[in-house]
């Protein structure tokens, strides 16, 4: 049975909670540097008047601690070390008690069950040294949405303390793999960014590859062998509906949405040759962008939609090229040693992530769209297919650490620090990060 992967509807309201004191934000992490010294933060379990309230409150606090710890930018302190145990979050904390345990920030939260299907969460983020409230918010939702609340609060903290948008209230679409290599079953799957709630979207009867989110995270475009000619498909997460995209005269693959979500860009094979085409989703009109006898594939739009980076072997080996959105002005940008493929433009626009093959190893790296300032972030037997967090600070990718060891999803910071495996139910590949869920 295929489970429905539609996101739970989130009735969520933000109300600002003020505190009678000036709030000067002095606490800030510079996330452009490595994170050798992550910021200590204290996050006690959220207080509640009843056992069920305290139980969910503890789950939410635990989720926030795990999110912040995984970012590599924060060091959530062990709650067992806390001296003050607040029962009322609407009075000032005893800052001296928090300074003793050497925390820079404190998150105090409270959970109130207002009815069977409605709960209210209040929280305040404190600068312990400056003794000021950095943010105070109140949210209301249904109890089963506690993970999304935890992710939302994590995003608020991340934004307040780094100055950048967070990426915790997001999901990952990927390919779940089972069976021997010579008879592999590949299913479209979706999960939260931390690996929670993995759900299959297709049965595994047909091979599916390379899923990518639409900018609203409501649709996925991917390649499937379910049709007579392998083709680019669209999957609507809300309805579960799948459809072949367009009636192309050959195999289509390597799809990605345009940043405004109105188009899908992809490769089409004709006479054995792959070129890049773009399809307007409303008019269904298709336009050819490249016409070379070489392989042209893996196109990815710049976030302003004006340019496209892609992979081509027109120069003899696979390299990265950039062109204007209408196909004009094609120029090569990769000039380092080795071969380059699978480029993805950062949502911030300032970098392009790619897969590089050199000396029988594979690497994930980044370079500027002009092709300079190349940095290699990872090395393994097979690292491939990077995808950006919506704030452009973290990359996920497929890694097969050693020959035959099976693929999994890994993440690494743009700084090259904080390499981690993302938990998946089994072998997994082709991750794609969603935008922040609305």
């Amino acid at each position: 049975m295929i489970m429905n992967g539609k996101p739970m509807r989130l009735l969520l309201t933000f109300i600002f909670m003020t505190f009678a004191m000036p709030a000067w934000a002095t606490l800030e992490i510079d996330i452009s540097k490595g994170h050798l010294d992550p910021m200590p933060i204290a996050i006690p379990d959220f207080v509640g008047a009843s056992d069920p309230e305290r139980e969910i409150g503890a789950q939410i606090a635990g989720l926030i601690r795990a999110n912040l710890e995984r970012s590599g930018l924060f060091r959530p302190l062990d709650p067992a070390s806390f001296i003050e145990h607040q029962s009322n979050i609407n009075v000032q904390p005893r800052f001296a008690d928090w300074r003793i345990i050497k925390t820079d920030a404190l998150l105090s939260g409270r959970l109130v069950m207002e009815s069977d299907n409605r709960m209210r969460i209040e929280f305040r983020l404190w600068d312990v040294l400056a003794e000021t409230q950095l943010v105070g918010l109140q949210l209301a939702t249904t109890p089963e949405n506690w993970r999304r609340i935890g992710n939302k609060i994590s995003d608020v903290i991340y934004q307040k303390l780094t100055g950048e948008t967070g990426y915790f209230d997001t999901r990952i679409v990927f390919i779940a793999e089972t069976g021997p290599k010579t008879d592999r079953v590949k299913r479209l799957a979706i999960m939260d960014q931390d690996g929670a709630n993995p759900t299959f979207l297709t049965s595994g009867k047909y091979t599916v590859l390379t899923p990518r989110f639409s900018p609203t995270a409501q649709q996925i475009t991917y390649m499937s062998y379910a049709s007579r000619t392998p083709s680019v498909f669209l999957f609507n997460i809300e309805t579960g509906r799948q459809e072949v995209l367009g009636d192309f005269p050959g195999m289509t693959f390597a799809p990605r949405f345009s940043p405004d979500g109105t188009k899908v860009i992809m490769s089409l094979v004709q006479g054995g040759n792959s070129d890049i085409w773009v399809m307007d989703l409303r008019t269904r009109q298709r336009t050819r962008l490249t016409s070379s006898p070489a392989i042209d594939t893996s196109p990815s739009f710049s976030p302003d939609g004006s340019r496209i980076v892609f992979n081509s072997d027109r120069g003899g080996t696979p390299q990265l090229y950039v062109m204007n959105a209408d196909g004009s002005g094609i120029h090569r940008i990769s000039f380092g040693k080795g071969t380059y493929s699978a480029p993805v433009w950062s949502p911030r626009g300032d970098l392009i992530a790619f897969t590089k093959s050199l000396n029988r190893k594979f690497h994930i790296g980044v370079m500027r769209p002009e092709g300079d300032v190349e940095r290699i972030l990872t090395t393994a037997y097979l690292d491939e297919g990077p995808t950006w967090s919506p704030n452009g600070r973290v990359l996920m990718f497929t890694r097969e650490p050693r020959p035959g060891s099976g693929p999994h999803i890994w993440s690494i910071d743009l700084t090259g620090a904080n390499l981690r495996q993302v938990p998946t139910p089994g072998d997994a590949s082709d991750p794609a990060w969603s935008p922040l869920i609305q």
Binding site: K181, P230, M251, G272, I295, A342, L382, P403
Partner: protein, 175 residues
């Protein structure tokens, strides 16, 4: 008889390995061997039947159904051309057959690039057959990229096998 010999050998091996040989227990009396049925005398194998003319089996045996490529290449080697020439003669002899050529790549490349490379390999094989008189209308192609390895290992031998174009008879063959 033979198994008893092996068991004896294993016993010798074990005692040879032991640094301080334990005193050997007295061997239990061997049970009386059951009389083995006498196998019929073998004088030689019967000649295998030739493949049925026009069958998939015949195509595979006479022509070979797979051609191989160098890394990141869709160039047909001399050997590949020889296989495709035999495929073409067989296909021209059985004009009602239809084929699907699937192009494949080894795992050392990114997924999408390998889909394009597999398409190029399938097309190279197709074009060669067409040049030798096989009607294009009888040929379909597909690329599996690196998704359908025939050898699941990760070594040179497996990669060489997995870089191929495979010709499958989809209809019209004698069964």
């Amino acid at each position: 008889m033979k198994s008893a010999f092996i068991a004896f050998g294993a016993l010798l091996f074990i005692s040879a390995c032991a640094s301080t040989p334990a005193p050997e227990p007295a061997p239990a009396p061997a049970p009386a061997p059951a009389p083995a049925p006498t196998p019929p005398p073998v004088t030689g194998e019967v000649t295998p039947l030739p493949p049925v003319p026009g069958s998939v089996d015949e195509f595979q045996k006479m022509a070979g159904d797979r051609v191989y490529f160098e890394f990141n290449s869709a160039q047909l080697s001399h050997e590949a051309r020889a296989v495709l020439s035999r495929q073409a003669s067989w296909l021209n002899r059985y004009p009602n057959t239809r084929i699907l050529i699937d192009g494949n790549a080894d795992e050392r490349g990114t997924r999408e690039y390998n889909l394009a490379l597999g398409a190029r390999r399938a097309s190279a094989a197709r074009d060669y057959l067409v040049n030798l008189g096989v009607s294009p209308s009888r040929i379909s192609t597909i690329s599996y990229g690196k998704e359908r390895p025939i050898d699941g290992r990760s070594n040179e031998e497996a990669w060489a096998k997995n870089r191929n174009a495979h010709t499958g008879i989809v209809s019209g063959a004698t069964s």
